[in-house]
C-alpha cells in the first residue's frame, strides 16, 4: 500500500496499512475540513430521522449531517425531503426548533420563505415599498432553492446524502447489513425518548470505540461481573465489503469456555458481587434468535443498538476537532405490551451516559484526546485479529476498526 500525504502533509498513512492509524487524524484541522467535504457531504448516507418522528405533512425535524445543519420535512404529498438548514439570502438558520410543523419554512431574518420541497416562494418587499427599493427585475425566485439532499428510507430510518451520485441505499448497506438493520426494525416504531451525550474527543474515537469489541469485557467491568456478555459467548463480527459498516453480535445458550479469562487474569473477573434487583436482566427473546446483543454501524456515523430489549439509534455528530455528540433515540414498537416497555426502560440503565456497561465509553475517547499533544506522527496499533478487515467468528478482534479505516481512506485519500 502506498503512502500519500493528506491536505497538510502531516498524517501520512504508514506502509503497515490498516494496522497503524496516525494520531494526527484526531487533531489536524485540515483533516476535519476534508471530512466534511469528502465524507459527510460526499457519497455517504447519513441518518437523519425516524419516519415516525415526522408522521404528518408539514412535520419537520432539524438535525445535522456531520456538523452541517439540515432540515428534514414531510411535504403535502407525504414525501420526505431534506435540505441544508441555511437560507439562500444571507445564510441564516431557517429552522431553530428541533421538531415542529409548518406549511412553509420562513427565515426570521428577512422573511424569505420556502415550500416544503425547498423551493424559494416568498421574498419580503420583493417589489420594494411605495415603488422604491426592492429586488431588481433580473432576480427570479424560481432560480433559488435550499440545497437539497437525496433522501431514502430503509426500515423506518430516513437517510440523506448531499452527493446526488451516492449509490442507492440498499446497495450502500449491502444484503448482510440490511438484513441486520431490518432485524431490529421489523415493525412500526415508537420513540421512548432522547438524550445527548457530549464527548470531549474527536468523533472517530467514538466510532472506533463502538466498533471495538475487544475492549467491551475489559473496560466495562459491570458487563463481565454480572455475566451479561463475555467474549467467550458465541458471536462474531460481520464487516461489509466496503469495510465501513459492521455488526457485532453475541448469543446466549452456546457458551464457550471461560479459560481465556482465567489465563489473562483480567480485572473483569475479580470481585464478584451479586445484584440485589436483577429484574432488568430478565429480558425477552423478542426477535426469536437468541441474539442478546447486536451493535451495528452504518458508515460513517450511525449506530443501531440492541442490548437485550434496549433498542436505540445513536447518531454521532462531530462538533469540532475535539468535541462530538451522541444523540440517543430510544425506541420500542407500537405494539409493545406494557411489560416489554417496562423492560426496555429498565434495561436502558445499562447504556447511555449513566449506563452500567457504557459510561466508560463517554470518557475513554477523551483519555486518548488528552494524550494527543505529544503523539506527533506516531500511530496506534490495530492488530487484534490480524491485518485485514474481513468478517470474523470472534469478538476478540479489531477487524471492524480496520474496516472503518479502509472505507475512510478510500473517500479521504489519506
Amino acid at each position: 500500500m502506498s503512502s500519500s500525504a493528506n491536505a497538510r502533509g502531516l498524517a501520512i498513512w504508514p506502509e503497515a496499512g490498516l494496522t497503524r492509524v496516525p494520531y494526527a487524524l484526531y487533531s489536524d484541522p485540515a483533516i476535519y475540513g476534508r471530512e466534511r467535504e469528502r465524507l459527510f457531504m460526499g457519497p455517504t448516507w447519513n441518518y437523519l430521522a425516524l419516519e415516525c418522528e415526522i408522521p404528518k405533512p408539514g412535520d419537520f425535524k432539524s438535525t445535522f449531517v456531520g456538523d452541517v445543519p439540515v432540515i428534514v420535512v414531510r411535504d403535502a404529498d407525504g414525501r420526505i425531503n431534506a435540505f441544508e438548514n441555511r437560507c439562500v439570502h444571507r445564510g441564516a438558520l431557517l429552522c431553530l426548533e428541533r421538531f415542529g410543523n409548518a406549511r412553509a419554512l420562513t427565515c426570521v431574518y428577512h422573511a424569505w420563505s420556502y415550500d416544503l420541497k425547498g423551493q424559494l416562494k416568498g421574498v419580503a418587499f420583493q417589489n420594494g415599498v411605495k415603488g422604491a427599493g426592492g429586488m431588481p427585475p433580473e432576480f427570479r425566485r424560481d432560480e433559488h432553492r435550499l440545497r437539497p439532499l437525496k433522501v431514502e428510507s430503509f426500515a423506518g430510518l430516513v437517510f440523506g446524502s448531499f452527493d446526488p451520485a451516492t449509490a442507492p441505499l440498499a446497495d450502500y448497506l449491502g444484503p448482510e447489513i440490511a438484513a441486520r438493520v431490518r432485524r431490529v426494525l421489523p415493525r412500526p416504531v415508537k420513540v421512548l425518548g432522547y438524550y445527548t451525550q457530549v464527548l470531549r474527543n474527536n468523533w472517530k474515537l467514538y466510532i472506533e470505540n463502538v466498533k471495538d469489541s475487544y475492549h467491551a469485557s475489559i473496560l466495562h467491568l459491570f458487563f463481565t461481573t454480572f455475566r451479561i456478555n463475555r467474549l467467550s459467548q458465541s458471536g462474531g463480527i460481520i464487516v461489509d465489503e466496503s469495510g465501513g459498516h459492521h455488526v457485532s453480535y453475541s448469543m446466549v445458550g452456546k457458551q464457550g469456555g471461560d479459560g481465556e479469562y482465567a489465563a489473562a487474569a483480567l480485572r473483569a473477573d475479580s470481585d464478584q458481587f451479586g445484584l440485589k434487583d436483577p429484574t432488568f436482566l430478565s429480558g425477552r427473546d423478542e426477535f426469536a434468535d437468541d441474539i442478546t446483543l447486536q451493535i451495528l454501524t452504518v458508515f460513517p456515523t450511525l449506530v443501531l443498538q440492541q442490548i437485550n430489549n434496549c433498542l436505540a439509534v445513536r447518531q454521532i455528530l462531530p462538533k469540532g476537532l475535539d468535541r462530538a455528540e451522541i444523540v440517543w433515540t430510544y425506541y420500542g414498537f407500537e405494539d409493545d405490551d406494557a411489560a416489554l416497555v417496562a423492560m426496555r426502560l429498565k434495561q436502558a440503565n445499562m447504556v447511555g451516559p449513566a449506563g452500567y456497561i457504557s459510561m466508560e465509553d463517554g470518557a475513554v475517547g477523551a483519555f486518548v484526546q488528552r494524550a494527543l499533544p505529544g503523539a506527533g506522527d506516531d500511530r496506534s496499533i490495530v492488530m487484534m485479529g490480524g491485518t485485514g478487515a474481513e468478517s470474523q467468528p470472534t469478538r476478540a478482534t479489531e477487524t471492524s476498526i480496520r474496516g472503518f479505516w479502509k472505507a475512510y481512506r478510500g473517500l479521504m485519500d489519506v
Binding site: 421512548l192 457530549v198 458481587f273 445484584l275 440485589k276 440503565n349 451516559p353 449513566a354 459510561m359 466508560e360
Partner: protein, 161 residues
C-alpha cells in the same frame, strides 16, 4: 416525624430532607443514599424535553430501592470514571398536593461537578419532582423524578443527582 399538619410544616420537613439528601450525595456518602427512598420507590433522571412529552426513557431509571443499592455497588466496584464530586445547590421547595402521608414537592437545583484535578463546571440544572412519604415516621422519597433542563450530559453521569 409526624405527617405534616399544614403546608408550612410540610415545607420545612421537605426542605430539611432535601438538605440532608444533597449533603449525603455531595459528601460521597453514597452508601446512605438509598435510605432516602422507600422500598418500592421510583427514581428517574430525565430531561425537560422528554418529561413534557411523556417520553418515558430515563438516563437512570429505578423502580426499587434495591436498584439504587445496585447502582451504588456498581459505582464502587465495577464502573470506571475519573474521581469527581458534586456540589448541589437546592432551592426552597414548592409544596404541592398532600394526600394522607404523601406530600408532593418541587425544588430547583444546580449541580457543580468538581474533578479531582481541580477543574469544575456547572454540570446540571433542573428540578426535583418529588413525592415524599411520611408514613414511616422518617420522610422518604416515594418518587424522585430528576428533570434536567438540558438533555445534554457532559461525558458521563456516574454519581446520582
Amino acid at each position: 416525624m409526624a405527617i405534616p399538619a399544614d403546608e408550612l410544616q410540610a415545607g420545612h420537613a421537605v426542605a430539611n430532607l432535601l438538605a440532608d439528601y444533597a449533603a449525603c450525595v455531595d459528601s460521597d456518602a453514597l452508601e446512605r443514599w438509598p435510605d432516602f427512598f422507600t422500598e418500592d420507590c421510583v427514581y428517574r433522571i430525565t430531561s425537560a424535553f422528554n418529561y413534557s412529552r411523556n417520553l418515558p426513557i430515563g438516563i437512570i431509571h429505578a423502580d426499587s430501592k434495591r436498584m439504587l443499592e445496585d447502582r451504588v455497588a456498581a459505582l464502587r466496584k465495577a464502573n470506571i470514571y475519573e474521581k469527581q464530586g458534586y456540589r448541589h445547590i437546592v432551592s426552597v421547595p414548592r409544596i404541592g398536593r398532600r394526600e394522607g402521608a404523601i406530600v408532593e414537592a418541587e425544588a430547583g437545583f444546580l449541580v457543580v461537578r468538581i474533578l479531582a484535578e481541580g477543574s469544575f463546571d456547572l454540570f446540571a440544572t433542573g428540578r426535583y419532582v418529588d413525592r415524599v412519604d411520611f408514613a414511616a415516621g422518617k420522610p422518604r422519597f416515594a418518587a424522585k423524578i430528576v428533570v434536567l433542563d438540558s438533555e445534554k450530559i457532559d461525558t458521563l453521569l456516574a454519581i446520582p443527582l
